[in-house]
Amino acid sequence: MQSLALIAPLIILLPSLGTIINFFWGPKLNERFSSLIGITASASTFVVWLVLFSYLNGNYYQPAIVDLPILDGWIRIPSVGLEIPWQQRIDTLSVTMMGFVTFVGTLIHIYASGYMHGDPRYARFFAYLNMFLAFMLILVSGNNLLMLFVGWEGVGLCSYLLVGFWFDKKHGVGLKNSNAARKAFVANRIGDFGMLMAIFLAFWTFGTLDLYKPTEVTNPHMMEALASGGGHGEEGAAPANGAAEEGGHGEEAPAGEEGAGDHTGSAAQLVSLASDLPIDQEGDHGEAAAEDHGESASEGHAGPVIAYTDNTHLTFSQLGIFAQAERLAQLGEGETLERGDGTTAGRMINFGAFELDIDTVITLITLFMLLGATGKSAQIPLFVWLPDAMAGPTPVSALIHAATMVTAGVYMMVRANSLFHLAEFSSLVVTIIGVLTALSAGYVAMGQFDIKKVLAYSTVSQLGFMVAAVGVGAYGAAMFHMITHAFFKALLFLGSGSVIHGVEHGHHHAHEHKHDDHGHDEHHAETFDPQDMRNMGGLRRKMPITYATYLIGTLALAGLYPFAGFWSKDEILADSWVAAIQDGKFAGFVALGLFVAAALTAFYMWRQIEMVFHGSPRTEAAEQASESVWSMTVPLVILAVLSLLGGFLNIPSGIGLFSFGLQGVFGEHTLSTWLEYSVVHLHVGAFQPLIAIVSLVLAVAAIILANRIYGSNKAINSEGLDPLEANPASRPIFALSNARLYWDEIYGRLFITPFNRTAAFLANVVDMAFLHDYFHDSVITKGFNGIGRLLSHPIDLGIIDGAVNGIGRLTRWISGGLRRTQAGYVRVYAVALLIGVVAVIVFMLLPVLQG
């Protein structure tokens, strides 16, 4: 079974292959073939995912570490023990990420095959999409921080290329697109700076960048079984193998619906693996653990989590960074532990020029990681790139800027949960950033008219939910929301693409324009913007499939029972509530601000539904709009189904009223239990009926309010104003939202303008006027000439000149090209040097040839 994990590298290689084919031969291929290559490459990663998924299910969720074949490691400096391999980590967390990345990725490839029809760089688009998949899968499967960083910057590059995909559009649109692309890359680079600093600190603290070492056991249940059954491994082996073969693990659910409760492999089965691992640990607390496990297995719920520190049979240097951090943080003042290579480690970490306490180090590392996450996952202060990134084609917005890439920051923090768990201050900062982002982006989304901008700010806001969840320690809830959000936000973006497509075609139809080859998103007529919701209305009847699916996506995002968003958002709120009330964590109280953000979500989404689909058409284009082709609507339907069912991935226990027997079908805490095998600090929170009811009431109230304001064909008044804009009482509130809180303007004033002015000052004044012109041309040159004149009369005229005259012919040969310069002393120099050179050559060659 272990060997199954060895196919993991294929999940990177296959899309890379797709990229290469479409990149080099794409221009010669027709559209159908290009998209076939792209879709096949993407779909094949999903097949690889299925294999990896069933591998984990069939192996008691035992993680695997796989070296990439052919490549011989990466950065390696033997003399100082620096070793960074190309290595993948296959565990429940990385496989979860791979699941929705490959699945949503494939759907979006299919959608794009229709959406991008007619684009002159059709093949190039698929090459980039495949490349994105490859980098994203490197990111989520890398087993060291640096490989994670390769994926991290790689997806940033793909985002840059895809946002700027239409870099050559006319009327300045191309310039706008490429500006947006550059902004995205630079903002991400600021985050990457944080990631790099975190990586440097981690290396000097832990002596490695490996997240986990192959020797390490990071599967808590495994540990329990090992501890209890260390002695009778031999007997356990035979029945365990039998059971493993019989037990048809892993129902291969399409959307990463990780098999419910099928981890109930009993302790006896796990025992068989014990004999493979060196254990010197007696089952002292193992008995209790085994009992716990017995119970939890029957409930389908995990027992107490045993952290990495249970790897007591391993020395410090046999552990990855997370396990090392846990051990170091447990040390008392002045205590040390053996590294295993003859040296010891203590709380004080020596960086050569300075020393820091391990707590300070972990706080610094996590804060730098947070900076990285604010870049990639679009949080305050770096989120400004994401709304602009909507300049890219809509499938890109759905895949990269909603479902997958932007979740990388959250993934990274969940992956580093051991560190964040140890760093309380950092976690608080994480929560504050997440909540502020969720609130301010939710507020801004209220006042936008561009259909994609609303969704973009919504994405920023929802990412804020996930980040806040990480801050309060609700790692499972963060991952859960990430998955459901991937479904319904991809759905909404693809739906908006379908709308734009429909309206644009309606516009062409209405005006009988010649079809523009560039296709979509083009603001070709200055007066008409197909993305402006003011130009829509009444599309419900024109685009029924798009409408139905969009409505499902909206309800899911708004958090209405039983849609996906209800469950995942509720889990974040419930966990925050528990953190605040039961644990008295300040971060928990902060996170309660998310209730407001949740209400805002329901409000702005319903406003959008009213503006786009309800009422009557406000323009000719909307009147003439038509439903999109099947390759676009089929992914919409699939995603709509998932937006409805996705929440059942992780039904909490004790849901009472909300039950309807769902747990019987989908199990309880399915996702959390599965993730628990790799996210050690994941805890499974109980259902909070009060929270669920409050958040439901808020969402319904917000929808009703939005309906009262925007419904009954009042979405846009006759002057083209939003009702809130038209009403003097609410106008300031709307205006501030519409102006996006002036973030870009403030950044422009505070950073960008000063940066540009300083650049000009440094270049023109400091470098040219001072260093170049004054310092060099005046000070140095004049000084040099002065000394030169002093020397030239006795030495130059007397000795050198004589020699020069002697070989005048040679002089003319060389200096001919320089003659018109009239700079006498240049010639003298040149000749003097040439003589010197010739002399040296002769001098040197003589002994060499002799000896």
Partner: protein, 524 residues
């Protein structure tokens, strides 16, 4: 004194000079094609020779290999003394890699239509190759100095004859600046030689380490420091270390394409090589004492170079200033004085040669087509020249340090070394890492100005596609960009033993000097 037979290093060293000699007797007007291909042939032969050298090189041996030593001026202790270790080898390989590309790129250049003298041009190219290899393999201070100075001559003429509008001014400035610095080095060399009784570098460093040869050190202004500075300033001008860089933009902007490629690719590395080869082992205490000061200049260079680069309107000038920024990383890495810093710095010397060399090739190819280097003259070039656009993107990203490409490997290891350095530390790492952001700022700005946006200028719409020679020049650059980016192990392996020797020479003084010199860097 050991006298050995002909070393392969000598063969590699003098092969270009043989080519020089053959070209001398060729007829410019009747053998034009033959001249071009002879020059190319000799650069290829030198490349093959160096690869042969590499194949026989033992990376686990920290000492000099392929040593050849012959008396030259025994009275003064001067000898023809060549040999290579990993650091020399990697830079020789860089040199012999860059040269054929430069020659081939010159084949399709239009400069000769205007300026003529093709034969002389290729002769200077070969002479340049000879002298640059010499700098990297010579182990005798006096002979090193000679080669160091000789590199100026061909470059001076390459800029002065085949350069742009302001070529003579630039050539002269290049010459004077470097000359001025070298004079101090000559004085230091003479003093060191007179104290040691020999000019052979391995003997001098051995004596310094055993304590037989003492250059008294008592702070930043003591005899050893002055000797250190004598060498340092000469090298720093060459690198160039901020604020001694003001010759570089002139030289680069005026130089012909191949000249810029070689200047950025190899000549600047002579300075950083000098730090590693001469400053650190001969003056370990002064190196430790001065490290924070030098690294501060390096960090300023990183940020300043990038910032000024961003404000440029001329493509070539932008790339020239980017060199100041990139080499700032190398300087910081060297003066981190640990294995990570040094190895990262050496790898980064190679990376910079490849990426910035590549950028200058890009400038040259555009200049050949449009006869301008103004950023505003372009826009949307990716659409006009799709293949060229894609290649340019890879080179730009390599210069930006995208992980998976070569630039990242060097930068990462340097910065890693900086944070854990006993002489530098957190502040240096923090500010140096800011350079990573700034690199994205100016390089993406450049890329956008030239390659992205609407293809709206008539002149840009019908540019001729890449010639086969141009593709042949760019492909090896791409291969190395990916190779070093994904599998750098073989290069680090080449350096490991040699840099360990240098680190070992400095290490004993890391604690000692801290007492003498109040280090500004000791704060986290």
């Amino acid at each position: 004194m050991d006298v050995s037979g002909l070393s392969l290093v000598t063969v590699v060293l003098f092969l270009p000079l043989v080519g020089f000699g053959i070209l001398l007797f060729m007829n410019e007007s009747t053998q034009r094609q033959a001249i071009k291909w002879t020059a190319f042939g000799f650069t290829i032969a030198t490349l093959l020779g160096a690869v042969l050298l590499w194949s026989q090189f033992d990376p686990s041996n920290p000492g000099l290999q392929f040593v050849q030593r012959n008396d030259w001026l025994p009275t003064f202790g001067v000898s023809y003394y060549v040999g290579i270790d990993g650091i020399s080898l990697i830079l020789v390989l860089l040199t012999v890699f860059i040269m054929p590309l430069s020659v081939l790129a010159s084949h399709v250049s239009h400069i000769f239509e205007e300026r003529g003298r093709e034969k002389l041009y290729y002769m200077f190219m070969l002479m340049l190759e000879w002298s640059m290899i010499g700098v990297f393999v010579i182990q005798d201070l006096i002979v090193f100095y000679v080669f160091w100075e000789v590199t100026l001559v061909p470059m001076y003429f390459l800029i002065g004859i085949w350069g742009g509008e302001n070529r003579v001014y630039a050539a002269l400035k290049f010459f004077l600046y470097t000359m001025a610095g070298s004079i101090l080095m000559l004085l230091a060399i003479l003093y060191v030689g007179s104290q040691a009784g020999t000019f052979a570098l391995p003997e001098i460093t051995a004596a310094v380490q055993s304590g037989d040869l003492v250059f008294p050190f008592g702070g930043l202004l003591s005899p050893q420091s002055f000797l250190f500075l004598g060498f340092f300033i000469a090298f720093a001008i060459k690198v160039p270390v901020w604020p001694l860089h003001s010759w570089l933009p002139d030289a680069h902007v005026q130089a012909p394409t191949a000249g810029s490629v070689i200047l950025a690719g190899v000549l600047l590395k002579m300075g950083t090589y000098g730090f590693v080869r001469f400053c650190l082992p001969m003056f370990p205490e002064a190196s430790v004492g001065w490290a924070p000061v030098v690294a501060t200049l390096g960090v300023i260079g990183i940020i300043y170079g990038a910032w000024v680069s961003y404000a440029q309107t001329d493509f070539k000038k932008l790339v020239a200033y980017s060199s100041v920024s990139h080499l700032g990383f190398v300087v910081v890495g060297i003066f981190a004085l640990n294995a990570q810093g040094l190895q990262g710095a050496t790898i980064q010397m190679v990376n910079h040669g490849i990426s910035t060399g590549g950028l200058f090739l890009m400038v040259g190819m555009l200049y050949e087509r449009r006869h301008t280097k103004a950023l505003d003259a372009f826009g949307g070039i990716w659409k006009a020249l799709p293949l060229f656009g894609a290649i340019s993107l890879v080179i730009t990203l390599s210069s930006m340090g995208l992980p998976g490409l070569n630039g990242f490997v060097g930068e990462f290891v340097i910065l890693l070394g900086t944070l854990g350095s006993s002489t530098l530390g957190f502040g240096f790492a923090l500010f140096a890492t800011l350079g990573v952001i700034l690199a994205a700022v100016y390089l993406l700005y450049m890329f956008q100005k030239i390659y992205l946006g609407e293809l709206d200028k008539e002149e840009n719409k019908n540019l001729p596609p890449l010639a086969w020679q141009e593709i042949a020049v760019l492909v090896p650059v791409l291969v190395l960009i990916f190779w070093i980016g994904v599998q750098p192990a073989v290069w680090f392996n080449m350096l490991d033993a040699s840099t360990s020797t240098v680190v070992a020479a400095v290490n004993p003084f890391l604690q000692q000097v801290a007492h003498i010199v109040p280090a500004v860097a000791m704060l986290p």
